[in-house]
């Protein structure tokens, strides 16, 4: 129904639709497109870094620009690419997996997206207004507090705005998973992806406020003359490191856990088996989430916290290897004896296991506090975290996109092109980052603009750069696949993989109310349970009736736009108080929009039974 109507309407109507939408499936599209765009920008920055390091004493870009590149590469990839792409998957899949018609707070869902987007735009505007942030993605004081120009100010305001969006999204998914599950969908019947999103949302809730405070302190120091990190006035720069990593370490689990969940669903589907050790997987996910908060200071072993603190954080860090190991073995045992189908999604997933395990192993090496004095701030660390983030998160995103693409867009991504994209990316990834471990052990520090000739670093860096180009080729082939599929490929049924969970029981893409009738869940892998009973689709848990749906609204956009305007005001009022006008105008727009939201009743609307019956005739029921 909706697609045919959308095609007939003009471009303006479609833009307005996306600006005001509160439908989780459309918000997933928005996250996917903007996250993908930032992924390309971050990738371009990575290529520039690798070209600069291609040969000794290179002069491809200046030292200052290089600092901006490494800072923006890290910040963009973590906050503006990986996070929104994960939110795209969460939005596209979680409500469907639990049998809900939308998230708990559709309005807040939209607000979270627009805050993220305006925060990301704010960061990237800095390229055109006199220089991007240049103090590294960790933004340590006093390097950041004394960095000239406004680059770091953009970092502070951009991340503050997009961080607020992420926090809102996290709370929304927590409540969605607790309150919106279909009848029979108990906690221990939830698909692993939903479980991991649940744990991730908890981490977001408790980790992001620490970043919020850190960014506020940084903002006050840089823009309002406070002295938190000013040692001359009694400040303490280590406070930033603690606050940053109290957020920052849970953040890496926020990134990887949803993909762990996606891998679990993918392995199970393409092995035609239920997940091996389901309850152990849930337990391991929760334990990783819990331990993720206990290890932040392993980023600070060389700060001088003393042997006792270092030992405690070292042991806690190594302990995380245990639940992670449980997961690795359970994935292997899920495949063991299964009818494995080597789709592109499965290819990325299988490649993830050894790649991520190498990253985990170097993680345990880094956790040894005494040895870390040798590794700290070298390319060994760079190799390690790219193995977990690219080998885990990026492989996971590719796998999950291949797996859920038909659910989101109704078409299976071309399998031949999918595999063609995989191989250069996979080989390029190992070429780029494996050698970096050895460069690091040989003493190459991270974040240096040039290295000298004759230090034994030439060949390793050249290999690393060649690998980066292969990864770029893989990415380009994947993008080609997206375009090719949307133009050439045919529509598929709602269940192209012979799936097991609820999202495969409805059409692709789903109608905007998802389920005509809320399904009744009778076990783990609910759709598979019905299939084994010889039934077509789910048993409904309610009679056909009117469906209550939320109304679209432009207010999330205006609230976020207000913070964007105010952000510029805050940055430039240091130079000229006239900019305070922008602060007041922006905050006025934000608070005014919030006030409007508060006083204007928004009761949603109903889709009537008769219209649903029309839709069923066209196939919405199945």
């Amino acid at each position: 129904m909706s697609t045919a109507v959308a095609q007939k309407r003009g471009l303006g109507a479609m833009i307005w639709d996306y600006l005001t939408t509160v439908d989780h499936k459309k918000i997933a599209h928005l996250y996917l497109v903007s996250g993908g765009l930032f992924f390309l920008i971050g990738g371009l920055e990575a290529m520039i870094i690798r070209i600069q390091l291609m040969k000794p004493d290179n002069n491809f870009i200046s030292a200052g620009l290089y600092n901006e590149m490494i800072t923006m590469h890290g910040t963009t990839m973590i906050f503006l690419a990986a996070m929104p792409l994960i939110f795209a998957l969460m939005n596209a899949v979680v409500p469907l997996q639990i049998g809900a018609r939308d998230v708990a707070f559709p309005f807040l869902n939209s607000l979270g997206f627009w805050l993220f987007l305006f925060g990301g735009l704010m960061l990237n505007v800095s390229w055109f207004t006199g220089g991007a942030p240049d103090a590294g993605w960790t933004n340590y004081a006093p390097l950041s507090t004394t960095s000239p120009g406004h680059g770091v100010d953009y970092y502070v305001m951009g991340l503050q705005i997009s961080g607020a969006g992420t926090l809102i999204g996290g709370i929304n998914f927590l409540v969605t998973i607790v309150n919106m599950r279909a009848p029979g969908m108990t906690y221990m019947r939830m698909p692993l992806f939903t479980w991991s999103v649940f744990v991730t949302s908890t981490l977001i809730l408790f980790a992001f406020p620490a970043l919020t405070v850190g960014l506020f302190l940084m903002m006050f120091d840089r823009m309002f003359g406070s002295a938190f990190f000013d040692v001359g006035l009694g400040g303490n720069v280590i406070i930033w490191e603690h606050l940053f990593w109290i957020f920052g370490h849970p953040e890496v689990y926020i990134l990887i856990l949803p993909l762990f969940g996606a891998f679990s669903d993918i392995f199970s589907t393409f092995s035609k088996k239920r997940l091996f050790g389901y309850s152990a997987m849930v337990f391991a996910t929760v334990l990783i989430g819990f331990l993720g908060f206990m290890v932040w200071a392993h980023h600070m072993f060389t700060v001088g916290m003393g042997p006792i603190a270092n030992s405690i954080f070292a042991v806690a860090t190594m302990a995380i290897a245990v639940p992670t190991g449980i997961k690795i073995f359970n994935w292997l045992f899920t495949m063991w004896g299964g009818q494995i189908k080597m789709t592109s999604a499965m290819l990325w997933s299988i490649a993830f296991i050894p790649s991520f395990t190498i990253g985990g192993m170097t993680g345990v090496m880094l956790a040894a506090a005494a040895a870390d004095y040798q590794y700290h701030d070298t390319y060994f660390v760079v190799g390690h975290f790219h193995y977990v983030i690219v080998g885990g998160v990026v492989f996971g995103l590719f796998a999950a996109l291949h797996y859920w693409w038909p659910k989101m867009f109704g078409k299976v991504l071309n399998e031949k092109l999918g595999k063609l994209a995989f191989w250069p990316f996979f080989i390029g990834f190992h070429l780029t980052f494996f050698i970096q471990h050895f460069l690091g052990l040989m003493g190459m520090p991270r974040r240096y603009w040039v290295f000298m000739e004759g230090q034994g670093l030439d060949t390793g860096n050249l290999i690393s750069t060649i690998g980066a180009f292969l990864m770029a080729i893989g990415t380009i082939i994947f993008l080609t696949n997206v375009i090719y599929t949307s133009v050439k490929e045919k529509k598929v049924s709602g269940d192209p993989w012979d799936g097991r969970s609820l999202e495969w029981s409805i059409p692709s893409p789903p109608p905007h109310y998802n389920f005509v009738q809320t399904p009744l869940v009778r076990g783990l892998d609910p759709l598979w349970v019905e299939k084994m009973d010889g039934k077509e689709g789910m048993t409904p848990a309610e009679p056909l009736g009117d469906i209550h749906m939320p109304n679209a609204s432009i207010l999330p956009f205006t609230i976020s736009l207000g913070t964007f305007i105010a952000g510029f005001g805050f940055i430039y009022q240091v130079d000229d108080p006239v900019w305070l006008i922008a602060v007041f105008a922006g905050m006025g727009l934000t608070l005014g929009s919030m006030l409007t939201r508060s006083v204007k009743d928004d009761l949603g609307h109903h889709i009537h039974k008769e219209d649903l019956e029309e839709d069923i005739k066209k196939g919405a029921g199945k």
């Binding site: 708990a104 707070f105 926090l167 709370i171 929304n172 927590l174 409540v175 607790v178 309150n179 919106m180 809730l205 408790f206 980790a207 992001f208 406020p209 620490a210 919020t212 405070v213 850190g214 506020f216 302190l217 006050f220 120091d221 309002f224 003359g225 406070s226 002295a227 938190f228 000013d230 006035l233 009694g234 400040g235 303490n236 406070i239 603690h242 606050l243 109290i246 006030l595 508060s598 006083v599 009743d601 009761l603 949603g604 109903h606």
Partner: protein, 207 residues
């Protein structure tokens, strides 16, 4: 339940704040949100504790703080928490006018607190030249206490907005959750103040 029923004051069940799915969602989400707020204030308290000795030799906590004013402020805020409980009690008994009355008293007490806090800051700045910029302790003090004060201001604006918006139409299932979570917010502000009173003022004076 159709939208007319939601807005009908005569259809009120027990616990009107949790009678609809929207209400239950808001109730749960707000508790989660307060969990996040706890981390926010914990970070600010941690920062304050790390910096409260960094006074640069002047304007130390013992020298600055007067417990008399802070004691009155504490009493005002604690009492306002109690009056907001009365308001919620009347909400559960569907007595809209009494709920409004007690919310009004809550707002007056909150305004009293805020006024005294503004006076306190004014006093420090003009009589002691103790500012946000004078030392790391100054930055940490004004940030922690100021964040709390900002929360008080936001809470007051929120409650007043709800009171004015619903003055004519009374209580219904749509606005009951809104009143309820605003009162939750108010309690949270109160709890944070108890910690500020202890950690900042008592420990500053005695510790």
């Amino acid at each position: 339940m159709s939208s007319e029923d939601v807005l009908n004051p005569k259809q009120m069940p027990h616990d009107p704040e949790k009678a609809t799915l929207e209400g239950r969602n808001k109730f749960l989400a707000f508790w989660f949100f307060l969990g996040g707020e706890t981390v926010l204030f914990a970070s600010l308290f941690g920062t304050y504790l790390a910096l409260n000795g960094s006074t640069q030799g002047e304007n130390t906590p013992e020298h600055l703080f007067g417990l008399e004013l802070v004691f009155i402020m504490t009493m005002l805020l604690l009492t306002s928490s109690l009056t907001s409980v009365y308001a919620m009690y009347h909400m559960k008994n569907h007595n809209f006018q009494k709920m409004q009355l007690w919310l009004g008293i809550t707002v007056v007490l909150g305004l009293g607190f805020l006024g005294m806090e503004i006076y306190e800051f004014y006093h420090y700045i003009h009589h002691y030249e103790f500012t946000f910029r004078s030392s790391a302790f100054g930055s940490a003090f004004y940030t922690l206490v100021g964040f709390h004060g900002g929360h008080v201001l936001f809470g007051l604006s929120w409650i007043v907005t709800l009171m004015i918006r619903n003055q004519k139409r009374g209580l219904n299932l749509y606005n009951a959750p809104k009143f309820y979570i605003a009162s939750l917010y108010w309690h949270f502000i109160d709890v944070v103040w108890v910690f500020i009173f202890t950690v900042v003022y008592l420990m500053g004076k005695v510790g």
